[in-house]
């Protein structure tokens, strides 16, 4: 079943579908510019040496986000098919 969780909870290498970007307006706009918006597929690819920020693959680009921001992005897990 579709279960909504926070982007920061998705383990590295798994993929997720963004359900909602619940950030302050300025940050949300910036996320949108990066293509981090409802319906995009996003996947954590690697963490920085101290665990924060984390790099995400979205739309073929790698974007680094702080955990406190990825906390506010809600996603549904995608079961690995490929």
């Amino acid at each position: 079943m579709e279960e909504i969780c926070k982007l920061s909870e998705i383990p590295v290498g798994k993929r997720a579908l963004i359900a909602e970007v619940d950030c302050k307006e300025n940050l949300r706009n910036r996320m949108y510019d990066f293509g981090i918006m409802n319906g995009s597929v996003i996947s954590p690819v690697f963490k920085s040496p101290f665990g924060d920020p984390v790099a995400y693959l979205v739309n073929n680009a790698v974007i680094a986000l702080r955990n406190k921001d990825s906390h506010n992005i809600y996603v549904t897990k995608i079961q690995n098919t490929d």
Binding site: E25, N29, F34, V45, N60, V62, A64, D69
Partner: protein, 640 residues
């Protein structure tokens, strides 16, 4: 029409006058706009593989067929509705200036997101050409784009290019020409912009979603992906360069290596140059004797101007000419954003932004550039913190001074493998110290003067790209050399004359300079320096490069007559004037922590638009420097 801030027309009259058509380059950050721009106009804008390298508009001109075109290179933006300072520049320009044609440069690898941006531009500009850049990389990644179909869907011509290899650029120029003279017609496809109303800023979310929907629809028709994993080598490299165990050590090693090459590589050219200049000086003396030049002229020209000038060139130039090309390579490779990524946690803890590490890195090149670069930081208070603390990174004017002091007092001037490694390690330690000071001061500022809410960190990590090694080295070397030579002539020469006059105009058997230095001496001694060094820092306000020459000259004028031609003689001169390890440490501290040079101060004034913050940026490091020197000097006195 969207209004943003002021309605002023950005003033580029100089370039635009007398041209037939005006063209702008626009696109997401780091898609190669500047490379395209350089290729078309033959200009030498610096490029780098990271977001925000270009923060100000650059303009140039080119003749295509029989017409003259002006080209404006706008800073890269992720959206034209966004909020960062450098993005406002681009948006402002597009909204308020008439352009004949826009070149929308997009990265073929990230076509979906880039198309969204292209559509935003097309909603306000009709005549445009889409420049599908980095096509060779996309091909390697298995991305196949049907350019004809894409052109049909957008209503504008689409040209596939690879700007670094100059592929497709002629076709691009021809297309721009054809659009401007009317041979090619662009279409505004209303269907693409249905329900989109960018004049409402609060409709941002809806607009962005509609743009995205359109770009997905177009991508489905025109783009096929053959591989499931893109940029595989970048992923592999990132595993090493950003991992928990290896990320930080590799970063430190890399910088240590850079410093080591600089230290060891700079020594020989430095020696050759100073020997050459020394020889030339002899000839100049002979010439002066030959023409019976008055003593005064001989003194001011040779002992004043010539000596200072040649010092700046022979000691300052080689380290710069080696360090900066290497640093440019690092910049082009895409490693810098990883540094920001690796270190963001520390910056976050200190109320600062990870991107500050990028502006700090730029500060090593030139603090004025670093301060301008702070525009990439969106939130005002974090930007202010970055501006105020940038000066703690030693710029290229101070860098060689540090190397000279380290070699003379700590690592030895023998230039063996051991001493050069030691120089590099000490230099690295000093830079690490600078970073720590920056972080501490940032933290204090974020709690006191520059309070505010912390913004977020969203930074794109571009794929690694192989830098164009030869071109980068040559370009950066030439630019640097010309810059330093220009500065040496403009600043060091008059400074040399001034110092000579101060040192040789006597009032009551004492030179003006010695009055000044004697006046400053008690204070200087108290903080571990002496009056001459303080005086040198004061006179070094226009350019830090002149600090050491001023010191040398005032010591030499005050009796210790000698010719210097290398670090060893210099060391003898300094120790003869009472320098100890304490002096060396204090001068390093003072070198890192004193008011910024005049150029940087003016830049800070321009960027902050506030006299208060400009003064803070001058007083803050000076006070910290003096206090630290005082503590060091008095603690050292207990032991020595």
């Amino acid at each position: 029409m969207l209004t943003r801030g002021s309605n002023r027309k950005v003033d580029y009259d100089k370039e635009i006058n007398n041209t037939d058509y005006q063209v702008v380059l626009t696109g997401n950050p780091n898609v190669g706009k500047s490379t395209v721009f350089n290729a078309i106009t033959g200009m030498k804008q610096h490029t780098g593989n990271w977001t925000g390298k270009t923060v100000e508009c650059a303009s140039g001109r080119a003749k295509i067929n029989d017409k003259v075109f002006s080209f404006i290179d706008l800073p890269g933006t992720y959206s034209i509705l966004s909020f960062s300072k450098e993005e406002a520049v681009a948006a402002d320009y597009l909204m308020h200036n008439e352009t004949d044609c826009a070149i929308i440069v997009i990265d073929a690898n990230v076509i979906e997101r880039n198309l969204s941006f292209a559509l935003q531009i097309l909603s306000i500009v009709k005549n445009a050409v889409l420049c599908l850049n980095l096509c060779d990389q996309a091909k390697k990644n298995g991305i196949i784009i049907d350019t004809e179909e894409l052109a049909k869907n957008l209503g504008i011509p689409v040209i596939a290019t690879c700007a670094t290899k100059c592929n497709g650029l002629e076709e691009l120029e021809q297309t721009v020409y054809d659009i401007c003279v009317g041979n090619i017609k662009c279409f505004h496809i209303d269907e693409l912009f249905k329900n989109i109303d960018i004049s409402h800023k609060d409709k941002y979310k809806e607009n962005a979603e509609l743009f995205k929907k359109q770009s997905i629809r177009i991508c489905k028709k025109c783009v096929t992906y053959n591989k499931s994993e893109l940029n595989r080598n970048t992923r592999r490299l990132d595993k090493i360069l950003t991992s928990k165990s290896t990320g930080i050590p590799i970063m430190l090693l890399l910088f240590a290596f850079l410093f080591w090459i600089t230290a060891i590589g700079a020594n020989y050219p430095s020696m050759w140059l100073s020997n050459g200049f020394e020889w030339l000086k002899e000839q100049l003396y002979i010439f002066m004797d030959f023409v019976n030049a008055p003593e005064f002229l001989r003194g001011i020209l040779i002992d004043g101007v010539y000596t200072t000038l040649t010092w700046v060139i022979s000691v300052m130039l080689p380290p710069m000419a080696i360090f900066f090309p290497l640093f440019s390579l690092l910049e082009d490779s895409g490693y810098l954003p990883r540094i920001a990524f690796n270190l963001d946690k520390f910056f976050a803890k200190c109320g600062a932004h990870g991107k500050q590490s990028l502006t700090m890195a730029m500060g090593i090149g030139c603090n004025a550039c670093g301060v301008t670069g702070c525009r990439i930081i969106e939130s005002p208070q974090e930007r202010l913190i970055a501006v105020l603390t940038n000066n703690f990174m030693p710029c290229n004017g101070r860098f060689p001074m540090l190397i000279a002091i380290i070699m003379m007092f700590f690592a030895g001037t023998s230039m063996t493998f051991g001493s050069s490694v030691l120089t590099a390690v000490i230099l690295l330690a000093i830079i690490a110290f600078c970073v720590i000071v920056t972080l501490i001061v940032s933290k204090i500022l974020s709690l006191t003067l520059a309070k505010g809410t912390q913004s977020s960190f969203a930074l794109e990590l571009p794929p690694y790209r192989k830098p164009q090694i030869l071109r980068t080295i040559v370009r950066s070397f030439l630019d640097r050399t010309i810059f330093v030579l220009g500065r040496a002539v403009a600043v060091a020469a008059p400074a040399g004359a001034l110092i000579w006059i101060l040192a040789n105009v006597y009032v009551n058997d004492c030179s003006l300079l010695s009055y000044c230095t004697e006046f400053l001496d008690p204070f200087g001694k108290f903080i571990g320096l002496d009056g001459t060094i303080i005086m040198a820092f004061i006179l070094g306000f226009p350019a830090n490069e002149t600090v050491i020459p001023v010191i040398i000259m005032s010591y030499m004028a005050s009796g210790t007559l000698m010719e210097y031609s290398g670090y060893d003689q210099l060391l003898t001169l300094f120790t003869a004037n009472g320098w100890t390890i304490t002096t060396a440490i204090c001068i390093i501290i003072m070198c890192i922590m004193h008011y910024p040079c005049s150029t940087t101060v003016l830049t800070i004034k321009k960027e902050t638009k506030s006299l208060k913050w400009t003064l803070v940026s001058m007083i803050l490091p000076t006070v910290i420097g003096i206090i630290l020197c005082m503590i060091t000097a008095n603690v050292m006195r207990l032991f020595l």
